[in-house]
Symmetry: C3
Subunit: 127 residues, 3 copies
Amino acid sequence: MPLVRIDIRRNPDPSHVRKLGAVVYEALKATIGVPDRDNFQILNEHDEQHFVYDPAYLGIERTDGMVFIQITISEGRTVEQKKLLYQRIAEGLHAEAGVRREDVFINLLEVRKENWSFGNGQAQYVT
Amino acid sequence: MPLVRIDIRRNPDPSHVRKLGAVVYEALKATIGVPDRDNFQILNEHDEQHFVYDPAYLGIERTDGMVFIQITISEGRTVEQKKLLYQRIAEGLHAEAGVRREDVFINLLEVRKENWSFGNGQAQYVT
Amino acid sequence: MPLVRIDIRRNPDPSHVRKLGAVVYEALKATIGVPDRDNFQILNEHDEQHFVYDPAYLGIERTDGMVFIQITISEGRTVEQKKLLYQRIAEGLHAEAGVRREDVFINLLEVRKENWSFGNGQAQYVT
């Protein structure tokens, strides 16, 4: 169910952004009950002119290593679950991909269960 | 009103993704009451490293021909209308553009009518 | 807090889209209470095949100079604030970047305050 969009500055390693995506997927499974195999992501890389961030908003120091993660999920998660998700993503990206924790930006979009079709023109989450 | 984002793997035919968009537009008009000419789309193509999907989630076999469609619409549509929309998009993409029905992924984002401006800095849907 | 996505047709001036983003940021601060430094944007440019708009929907004449602006914000703004935001963006883009007012398309996505993490894996807006 989650549809994950990740945007970063262009990285010399073409597999880098995909590694970031794998960490996000594992975090979704570990913290908010996303089922195994439910993995759908669109990844983009940008040059300096197309990637804007403030290097100090809220007193957090950000660098060009910044990672924008916007995730569309079904509604129903608690605040506690969302906090766990953020922690897990930031820790995972740091440990497994060398991303600074300060550089992890996450936003969640929430939709109804009926707002998904995973193929064959059906609304698989509607019973 | 709908803002349609379509993401696919890079296709050798540069007009392919635009054809997909035309099918989605027709489906929106046919099923959920989108008015004529209300057609706004951002289309993107990706290489393998930037396009992630599970080839079997929910028992549906997906291929590189996969089409991600994320549509922002005004709230108010019924579950039945959404189901018709999914069916129509999947059937249309199959019949008119040779897309496998299993490869059609759709997600809807819903917003209030006041959340749109179609030009001139006005909120045209607010009376 | 706002996450701004701007999409335009490719412009010969590589700094053009960034200038558009700066105007949007100033409008967000001036009209809906976005704090200073809260500036996060992903900017994209497209060729003709990947950029679809109707040149006359709602009687508004649009050109290839069209600017798609999709902004994710926290919920809670009034209709009046949103209208001011649209006006300010359209006027600002016209005055400062030569964009036709008719070519300014804006959509707002609204989320809960808990749906943001600005770094360090924390939900900074949750008290």
